[in-house]
Amino acid sequence: MTEQTDTPRDDDVLAAELVLGLPSEKDLLEGRRRMATDSEFASRVVFWQERLSAMTDDINPVKPPARVKKKLLAQVFPKTRVSVLQRVWLWQGVSMVSVLFAGYLGVQLLEMNTRPDAQPTVLAAQLGSDTSALQVLAVVEPVKHEIALRRISGEVLPNRVFELWAILPDQAPVSLGVLPDSETVRVLVPEALRSQAAEITLAISDEPIGGSPTGAPTGAVLAAGEMKEL
């Protein structure tokens, strides 16, 4: 970096001002644009964030009252106790395709319930997020160990792919592979995960063509959802 001590501000100072929250509105916009497009500048922002956050090192931890956690969890995970069919219904939102699908699933459940010796547990997940249009329904077929996926909405970006991940509690995500760009797809559940299928959280991340180069998700998580028993 060239030193420009005679000018009032260089890039590095802008990066520090961004972290401190000091720039004018115009500089703030410029700073955000630079962060998104200029990796050298972005690394200067990281440099300052890391160093300036050391000012909190001598702030002592204070245990928050239990009610804060209670309120937080109620806000983040609102409780919805509904029947199976209602749940199927709620899942689908308002799209006609989805409603038909819900009806279909309902019929399947009824058929299974009429079989005397069968105790079917259907595992399914709705994958979505607040920040992406991608919505996918997943249903596990226990005998074939397959997950049937249906994309309700959301498009893959040009030159990018969707990669599907299975996550078990306390474990790193396991890739179930890159998804083809089709509305429905079936994916085999790896043998190691089968006995814990009910605990799987499925997630779809945005990855370069060919899938994550690292074996772990590298792009944004576009949709995720836990398995639930229907």
Partner: protein, 211 residues
């Protein structure tokens, strides 16, 4: 219609031992703090509720301390911390790309959320936004991030080498959300003088920390 799902779960006798997700709350032995918190954030990004619960238990006291330090009022700090964790839940998937160490990312969210609340009391308030939620240029590779985050502990020693007022101004901006106008007021100097002071302070700080 639904052609690919024509055989949904026909019979499933072997499912009896499957158990519900929320029954799993036992904690794993701790690895290093950084790895542990990083793993929790990665799982929260995948919408793992158990991980979110564990992350709260692990870091809420530190973050509450930060919120209290900035806002100085318990009720406001409680609200800010709740808000902080809602943001963590919604944005955890942005963590892996931003190159920050996990505690810095979490503390930055808590600090910025608190300062936004503090400034909201004032007229003409403008959110400072939360670096870390922004899209970051894709070129920021792990090595750059490691360089950027290494030896961060030098800060306090370097702050001590600055002229006292400049160090106070930098602390005031970071911990009390003071703007250039606030600082100019507090130190009784013109706005432009304040800018020059603080920018020179930052340059001196960088030189000290880069040695």
């Amino acid at each position: 219609m639904a052609l690919s799902l024509e055989k949904v779960a026909p019979g499933a006798g072997h499912l009896g031992e499957w158990y519900w997700y929320f029954s799993q709350t036992e904690k794993q032995p701790l690895q290093s703090d950084r790895t542990e918190i990083e793993n929790l954030i990665a799982r929260v990004a995948m919408k793992d509720r158990v991980a979110f619960d564990q992350l709260y238990d692990r870091v809420s006291a530190k973050l509450f301390g930060v919120c209290l330090r900035v806002l100085n009022k318990r009720a406001a700090a409680e609200d800010a911390m709740q808000d902080t964790f809602v943001k963590i839940w919604k944005n955890a998937d942005r963590y892996s790309a931003n190159g920050l160490s996990p505690m810095t990312w979490l503390i930055t969210i808590a600090r910025n959320t608190s300062i936004d609340r503090l400034r909201a009391r004032k007229k003409g308030h403008q959110d400072i936004d939360t670096p870390g939620f922004e899209l970051v240029a894709p070129g920021l590779n792990p090595e750059q991030a490691v360089v950027a985050s290494s030896e961060a502990s030098r800060l306090s020693g370097c702050l001590d080498t600055l002229e006292e007022d400049r160090a106070k101004a930098i602390r005031g901006a970071y911990l009390d959300g003071e703007t250039y106008a606030d600082l100019a007021d507090r130190f009784g100097v013109p706005l432009n003088t304040m800018r020059t002071w603080l920018r020179r302070g930052l340059i001196a700080l960088r030189e000290c920390m880069s040695q």
